[in-house]
Amino acid sequence: MKKDIVDNNNTESSILEVKDLSVSFHTLAGNINVVRDINFSVDCGETMALVGESGSGKSVTAMSILRLHDEEKMDYSSSSIFFKGHNLLDVDESNIKKVRGSEISMIFQEPMTSLNPTFTVGSQIMEPMIIHKGMSKTAAKKRAIDLMELTGIPEPHYRFDAFPHLLSGGQRQRMMIAMALACEPKLLIADEPTTALDVTVQLQILMLLEKLKKDFSMAVLMITHDLNLVKRFADRVCVMQEGNIVEQGYVEALFAKPQHPYTIKLLNSEPERIIAEGETQALQDKRKLLTGQNLKCYFSSSKGFFKRTKNTVKAVDNIDLYLREGETLGIVGESGSGKSTLGRCLLRLEKCTGEIFFDEKQIDQLTHTALRPLRKEFQIVFQDPYSSLSPRMTIEQIVGEGLLIHFPQLNKDQRREKIKQVLLEVGLEDNILWRYPHEFSGGQRQRIAIARVVILEPKLILLDEPTSALDVSVQKQVLILLRELQERHKISYLFITHDLKVIEAVAHRIMVMKDGKIIETGETEQIFKNPQKTYTQNLLTASLFKNETDEKISA
């Protein structure tokens, strides 16, 4: 089937043709084949999407096109990548430099780190034009300002001399796009261009890319893990799994009738509501486990030699909330809305003012030593399972650590027995006690992190974006696991996330936060069906890629 698509393509119209691309890296464990004999082509003016989960080789493929790998440590074997009829893998280093940035350019996932912090953004946009087109400085500056205007940056004359740290994430990504467009490339490679951005900004950037694609009549190779995004913005799609393209075709056809089991699995992994109807109502008689009143958390930074001018950030600004036994309260908001700070305040991991009652005890005045025995009752699961497990401790040490503190009466064998039980409960094997975190995948690591807190039998778990670092298919499994644990042990969850689809699946009630304040709060169904505030409405449309509101948001 793969062959057909390649052959059927009119080679005249395709700008990029990847033929039998194999990429292997030399490591201690020998050569690891990351991409295996993949074939695809990108036509002029189309958006081709490479979709896959982490480790599927999609970024490696994209980087191979520009030859950005360290070629001493890898091998292309007998692959070829034709761009306008030239095999990019054959040309020498000086010629590939002529292609990079001028014929093919690339934008990266993380706008925070892909701009050089020591140069003004203007000079960074000018650079490719001066190098590739030999433009004079004044001409390049004029063009740069035009491009900044085109990418929707307000007051480009003023921003031209700004340093990257002065811009927001969305603005930086716009700058990256302006830089990528500087030499009017024929092909733009976008490697997860919006993954690091907030949903509303994400939509704006994608719409911008779509518009620019038409204006510049360029092709876009979009690398992403987000199927909704593909559905909305791509013309054709290649689904990658473990270095192979398992299926490719036009977006409508592929989404309507997926052939390969992996594609079907991916399409089915969208989170669905796993809370029974009426459950929310049933919970209303339960007692309140956690209450917070007048919570405030201000961060102030002082400026000047005598520290007089104070700049206060109100991360949590006078918030009241409660959480019932066995309930999931979703706290939703974009980055910087103070949702994580709020969670950390409630668990007394951050200094704040206001009253916090946990299990009818007031805990906001307790000293850290007095709080320590209580810590067993409220636990936290972090976003990134790669950084939340100490890399030099074994699984037994990690999961058992809390037991040493809060269940000192257990002896070594009882402890081990309990660790094994809890590992089985979170869906892991019980023979992994002596292994290290790096041996596990993201989903397994998150299970270990969950095991570490569940073993203490807490009443409340703060889930700080527990699934956003995971692949979609794993995400759903983790959500189901969390739900099972909740039902079995009657745990309450404070579920912090920016992902509305996830929160729709698991939360009984939702709190929408912006700039440290509560915008809207209510039952999940209510808010999703009938949001009252404009901010909530915008958030909903942006995160679900609804078509009908396009004009409104781009305006």
Partner: protein
């Protein structure tokens, strides 16, 4: 030579085992480590290799162990009741004739034994008697090199161990508690590190009787500072990582977080600097000895040999041999250090 493991095997190793694998794959560093360890182990038995006393003597059906006991010359039919000089040709004759025998070490001199029976004036060029010649006081150069190497390495190891210990403790306290503790400690370190180390050494060398212990103390006072900065930086980075937050939210105590969670993950700069710190300490001792501020005069020391080499510029065997030993040691340590740095770099698979 590069050991290839299957992916499965590789994955099952702990992080430190993986680092050791990477270290072994750097052949130059791996062999340097072996050579250095073997040389050091051999030098620990310097008394058996290079000594002015035989290891064992059989004299008139009786065994003597001069290494452990002192025997007067009269025991072997000599004339004096003083301690035996086993390199005296008269004594050699006595203990080797008529069925008596003695096993001498490979080199017949200890670091302070003077060859009174040399045929040429001191410093004597290499000869059959003294393989690497003698210094200007008639002491055997080879013996002094062997003992000097051992002393330098032990000195460097002790100094490094003390420096690492203090550096880790100070750095981890600073990096973990931050705020005022860090601020005050950092200012104190800045003041302390701006003290003129060499002047202090000269002053102390003239006040106290010079000894190895005094040197260790004085150099340790200053030696920990570079390292504490690195540990502090690692702790500052690590204290905000999720796994530390997780431990804190679980109610783990501060000391436990510091030593169980943060320290193992902060050891990379410490380990990376170890070989370089050891070579630095060897150099420091050598240069102090060279300036005459180091160990007491009779102690075998590479620096003192170098200084003699400078005074007797035509006696090439003094400067050249010492130079080779010194350079050889430092090169080995630097190769080890390079390999270690690469091994601990986790980006290398």
């Amino acid at each position: 030579m590069a050991t290839i493991l299957s992916n499965e095997q590789l994955v099952n190793l702990s992080p430190s085992q993986r680092a050791w694998m990477r270290f072994k794959n750097n052949r130059r560093g791996y062999f340097s480590l072996w050579i250095f360890v073997i040389l050091f182990l051999i030098s620990l038995f310097a008394e058996v290799i290079s000594n002015d006393k035989p290891l064992i003597i059989q004299y008139q059906q009786e065994y003597f162990f001069p290494l452990f006991n002192d025997y007067p010359e009269t025991s072997f039919g000599g004339d004096f009741v003083t301690m035996t000089d086993y390199n005296d040709p008269y004594i050699i004759k006595k203990i080797t004739e008529k069925g008596n025998w003695a096993i001498y070490p490979l080199n017949n001199y200890s670091y302070d034994s003077i060859n009174y029976f040399a045929e040429i004036p001191n410093p004597a060029r290499p000869s059959e008697q003294n393989f690497l010649g003698t210094d200007d006081r008639g002491r055997d150069v080879l013996a002094r090199l062997i003992y000097g190497f051992r002393l330098s390495v032990i000195f460097a190891l002790v100094l490094t161990a003390i420096g690492v210990l203090i550096g880790i403790i100070v750095g981890s306290i600073q990096g973990y508690y931050v705020g005022k503790v860090d601020l005050v400690a950092q200012r104190l370190i800045e003041i302390w590190s701006s003290m003129p180390e060499l002047y202090l050494l000269i002053i102390f060398a003239s006040i106290f009787k010079p000894s190895i212990a005094l040197l260790v103390v004085l150099l340790s006072l200053f030696g920990w500072m570079g390292l504490s900065d690195y540990v502090r930086a690692e702790f500052l980075r690590g204290r905000n990582l999720d796994y530390v937050q997780a431990a804190r939210s679980m109610g783990v105590s501060n000391t436990s977080i510091m030593f169980k969670h943060l320290l193992p993950n902060s050891m990379v700069p410490v380990l990376t600097f170890l070989p370089f710190r050891i070579s630095g300490a060897i150099l420091a001792l050598t240069s102090l000895d060279y300036l005459g501020l180091g160990v007491p005069p009779s102690t075998p020391s590479l620096g003192e040999l170098l200084s003699q080499g400078k005074d007797n510029i035509d006696a090439w065997w003094l400067s050249m041999t010492t130079f080779s030993v010194l350079v050889g040691t430092l090169v080995l340590l630097i190769f080890i250090g390079e390999a270690l740095r690469e091994a601990l770099d986790t980006r290398r698979g």
